[in-house]
């Protein structure tokens, strides 16, 4: 943990780093647009007129492809990181991530099921797949809540029900992917998560969901701190544990479900960012939240930029990058934690 007085400076440094990442992301891409061209295109605004000093397609690449994609990855990272932070508090478990309530397996399952049934095809509109995915994601979370007895029960019961349902849904998803093998690659691709199909309209919906998900957290940082106490202590200190859990669950689950629906299931960001940031800020959520938000934005933007620059003409799914970066980090975290406790 860093001294509290240093935190504002670190925060500013991270923000500067984030801005740098945005600039790099604007410049990176196989279309080979020069930096002066990028600058003039951005300055001349979103509308393409005769006076715009770059070509129509270059302008379009920047404004319709790169810019919404950069912003979408930032918002998605913010949602996942803050949701991860909340879930780790809700479950009093530093290994929790936004997908423990089956959001990712629910979304992947419903997409594979819908593809099997023919509801979604190779030619999909903007909203068919996200809608199907959202229903699967939110539906699964709701199902787990109901099955486990709701927020009345201990977080462990909720977690275990989530684990069981995750297994079941993954198995079912594999079944439907097998039965529909010609489309296996497409569905796998979607599951791994990507920001390829980013657009301004998607960004709008994602941002609204993000606000709905994150605003309550801003007001409840103290509550999240107290939730970390055992049940009896938390309640005796005056916390309405049940209602706080319910509000936090509903808001973050909603925001995460929308994110998964629009961007696929991108792992590790929700788990790692709050963890890493906690090392800097300490456990108090009023400090952890803003740092997790910045950290989530940075991690997701960096991962997506790498995903679309490392292979030249092709792309990797961003979930692959977060896993490759996340898994070793995760192991380091584990050994660090073990060393600390022993």
């Amino acid at each position: 943990m860093v001294r509290k007085s240093l935190l504002p400076f670190i925060g500013i440094a991270l923000l500067i780093l984030l801005s740098l990442l945005v600039l790099i992301a604007l410049v990176v891409g196989p279309a080979g647009i020069s930096i002066p061209d990028i600058v003039s295109s951005i300055i001349s605004g979103p509308e393409y007129t005769e006076d715009t000093p770059v070509s129509a397609s270059q302008h379009r690449i920047l404004w319709s492809l790169r810019l919404p994609r950069i912003l979408t990855s930032i918002v998605a990272g913010v949602v996942l990181a803050s949701s991860g932070m909340v879930y780790q508090a809700l479950f009093r478990n530093p290994m929790a991530d936004p997908y423990v309530l089956g959001i990712s397996s629910g979304a992947a399952f419903s997409v594979s099921f819908a593809a099997f049934l023919g509801f979604v095809g190779g030619a999909t509109g903007l909203w068919q797949v996200p809608l199907v995915a959202f229903i699967g994601a939110a539906g699964t979370a709701l199902g787990i809540l109901v099955l486990s007895g709701g927020v009345r029960r201990s977080p462990t019961t909720l977690l275990l029900t989530g684990v069981a349902l995750n297994f079941l849904l993954s198995a079912l998803m594999t079944l439907f992917m097998y039965l529909n093998r010609a489309q296996l690659q497409s569905i796998m691709q979607w599951t791994l998560g990507s920001f390829v199909s980013s657009s301004w309209s998607k960004l709008g919906i994602l941002s609204i969901a993000a606000v709905i998900g994150i605003l309550p957290i801003v007001y409840m940082t103290r509550e999240l701190d107290i939730l970390l106490l055992d049940e009896a202590s938390a309640r005796s200190v005056g916390l309405s544990v049940k209602s706080v859990r319910l509000i936090m669950l509903i808001c973050t689950t909603f925001a995460t479900s929308v994110t998964v629906a629009l961007c696929g299931t991108i792992g590790f960001v929700g788990l790692m960012v709050p963890h890493i940031m906690r090392l800097i800020t300490g456990p108090q959520h009023i400090r952890l939240l803003p740092f997790s938000i910045i950290g989530g934005a940075m991690m997701m933007l960096a991962a997506d930029t790498i995903a679309r620059s490392v292979l030249g003409a092709s792309e990797l799914p961003v979930g692959v990058i977060t896993a490759i970066a996340g898994a070793p980090l995760f192991i380091i975290m584990l050994t660090h934690a073990r060393r600390k406790s022993s």
Partner: protein
């Protein structure tokens, strides 16, 4: 090692090097004199040998089925896959299952003389069939027109229809040659949509057979330098191809596919969309390395010619 043993050992090895090749040549001579044996080398480098031309063939790939019919062997085919749909006569042939996991039991029960499998065939299928004692001719050639010719030639050899196969290849070559005269002048920039939107952008990259067909038809495939089907959306916009080939994608008709594509905000601004140069094509004739491949080249060339003329 003791010196006493070394010399005899050395002599033995030397002897082996002299004797064995001689005996081998002998059996080879035996092979040539045995005119009833038919051999062909398949794509794995294995020699497939039959004692007579096969009278019962099971085809485990649509392009193989089409080739067999084109060589006049329709009545010799006793089994096909679910995806073998051309020509229409295939409907009366029993299916052995899908491309990736056909029913081994069913195949074996049909007692074929040979099973011919192509590039989507799985290793497990081949191994299972050979274990059951059934000869398997694996024709997984490179994804070019030359590879296609090799497939046709190999089938001609194993079935004794060498003359027919040579004729077919010659016809295909002349069809393609006639096309190239047409397209000398201008090569339109082309993009083939193998996948778009939520599922990611996939196209006929330079390592695919589709790329070969596009190029032979006179098109300039913007994804020629990319590999493994994956292509960045940005590059599609940067190249802004004149023509977009859009086969109907899985689960959708052409009209549905075209509607979704042209109305999708990521693709709507493309010039080809605005100019109405988004064209359908039967993906089967494009993707199958078989007798209709030349037809695909011709059809595509005609499309290019028409669109450029406008």
């Amino acid at each position: 090692m003791k010196t006493r043993l070394q010399f005899p050992l050395f002599a033995l090895v030397l002897l082996a090097f002299v004797v064995l090749p001689i005996s081998g040549r002998g059996s080879q001579e035996q092979e040539i004199s045995h005119s009833s044996l038919i051999t062909v080398q398949d794509s794995r480098g294995n020699e497939i040998t039959l004692e007579a031309y096969p009278q019962r063939i099971i085809s485990l790939s649509p392009n193989i089925t089409e080739t067999l019919f084109a060589l006049g062997l329709g009545d010799v085919i006793i089994g096909r896959t679910d995806y073998c749909d051309y020509p229409s006569e295939t409907a009366s042939i029993p299916s052995m299952g899908d491309l990736l996991s056909p029913s081994i039991e069913k195949i074996v029960s049909m007692e074929p003389d040979i099973v011919i499998i192509s590039n989507l065939g799985q290793l497990q299928t081949i191994e299972a069939l050979e274990y059951a004692g059934i000869p398997v001719l694996s024709l997984d050639e490179e994804e070019t027109m030359d590879g296609t010719y090799r497939i046709i030639a190999a089938i001609g050899t194993i079935t004794g229809k060498t003359a027919e196969s040579q004729q077919l290849i010659a016809d295909m070559k002349s069809q393609i040659a006639s096309v190239s005269q047409l397209t000398q002048s201008e090569r339109p920039t082309v993009y083939y949509v193998a996948g778009f939107g939520e599922w990611g952008d996939f196209t006929a990259t330079g390592d695919t057979f589709l790329h070969d067909i596009i190029t032979l038809a006179g098109g300039d495939n913007i994804a020629a330098d990319a590999i493994n089907w994956s292509f960045q959306l940005e590059l599609l916009h940067a190249h802004d191809p004149q023509i977009i080939i859009l086969p109907p994608l899985w689960g959708s008709t052409f009209d549905e596919t075209k509607y979704q594509f042209v109305n999708h905000p990521s693709y709507a601004p493309l010039s080809a969309v605005k100019n109405g140069a988004v064209v359908p094509i039967d993906s089967n004739i494009m993707e199958r390395q078989g007798p209709r491949s030349a037809e695909a080249v011709v059809k595509l060339a005609e499309i290019f010619h028409t669109l450029l003329g406008e």
